[in-house]
Amino acid sequence: MKGKKAMGWTLSWIWNLLSLTVIILIITGAVIGTINKQNDTKNLRVQLLGKRILYSPECFAYQDTNTKTKIGTIDLQKVSEERLKNCFDANGQEIGVKIDFKGDEFYYNQTNYRDIAPIAFTKKYMKYSDRFFVQVVENNKISFDYMTITVVAKK
């Protein structure tokens, strides 16, 4: 009888220990998860990628004769898929970019874009899309137009 009691006592302690450990792990996991979610900046990063197209002279941004970059001004001669490839150098990152400009569509990683865009609403993916009113320079002539930039990426 004593042996059984001792065993029961030990078992109850094991259960106590296990249940307490599980509770601690769950609480800790929940707290860390919440903090990480609060700190998640991936959506912001996708925005940065999209805006790079307008901001960077390596992409579409116009540079004047003094090589000063005009942010938000598009050099029409630069608008091409080839330029997009040069603009982004995605080290294995799964991103796709689509530009709608003057009735044409320009893609970077078109396959990625078409794969991800329809399911970008899911938790595994993210999407940034914005329509910009831009100044366009062509042969020193300035005009205005809209450019829609859509970036999709895997989280």
Partner: protein, 357 residues
Amino acid sequence: MKFLQSKKGDTTELTYNPLFTLIFTAIVVFFLFGYAISWDDSTFLNRNVLANDIGLTIETLQMAPDRVSIDYPKELKDVQIEIDSDKVNIKNIEGGELASFTEFNYVKITGLVVPHIKVPEEFSTGLVKSKPFFLYLSKNGKVINAQTSIFSTQTTAPTQTQTTAPTQQILSISTTNNNWKNEELIVSYYEANKGSPAYKIYNINEETYLADYLCNFLINSPYFYTINNRCAGGNNAKIKPDLSNAILKIIYAFEIPSQKDNGIILYSFDSDKSWKLAQIILKNLQPKLNQLNVPNKNIEIKKIVNYDQINNLPVSLNEQIPGLIITIGYQDDVINLNSIISILNNVINPSLQEYYK
């Protein structure tokens, strides 16, 4: 209720069970408090946020056109920040352990260089340990760099005038991998001034490109590999086209001496290892200066500490940040060049062996 029903044997249970429970609970509470205090102390949380924030700042710098300089508006302490092309590491200076790190979705602008940056480097010498410092990030052309400034008494962020223009910033560029002791040594070379007469050298019977000549010479060297696209002719077997394993790169830059010929200069990037190696090479090269048929035999070592120096180097670095650059003037003939390279190789190899010892 058990107490009332208890028999002789249960007395032990009733005495020790609450006691063990209390002790166990006290231990658990103690560790949980410690854990909670560590969060309050921000060691985990703050550094995680810090890594994210610095990563984002760098991504923003990549996006920004032209020259940009950012003062990171937070006083930092007890951490060392390491920035590579694909991650930001925040290290705990006390234990040297990785406290937190984040990878950013690194999609770089083509040609943009993010050299390995470790700030502040002074921690390694213990000079500024535990002193607060500020971080400045800048993008200059296609290079992102970082510097720190230590303010032992000042508690507010420095003004814009104190942060200096990018040209005055101190760089901290290490070799691409600090563990190059166990890696292959790769020697590259650069033919200075493409298009100038120095680009070609003239043998007795044929005109040879300097690059090809150096290429063959170095490929046949028992010690070093060479890397250059121009090396493609006939010697593919020994060419290492992948620069990712290049740990220490030494670039020879040969130039026909001009009025600005400053003699032989060993440029070391701002890394303790490169600087130490440069000192050994200098020591070993000095006795052999008489054998070198160069117009100016002055020799010195310089540490590259600011961006202007990089721009003024006779080599185009692009993405290749070497450990050492040796610039040397030479007379425009192949025999002399042959002799100079032989002497350099004969100095560098034992210098490396001496360094490793």
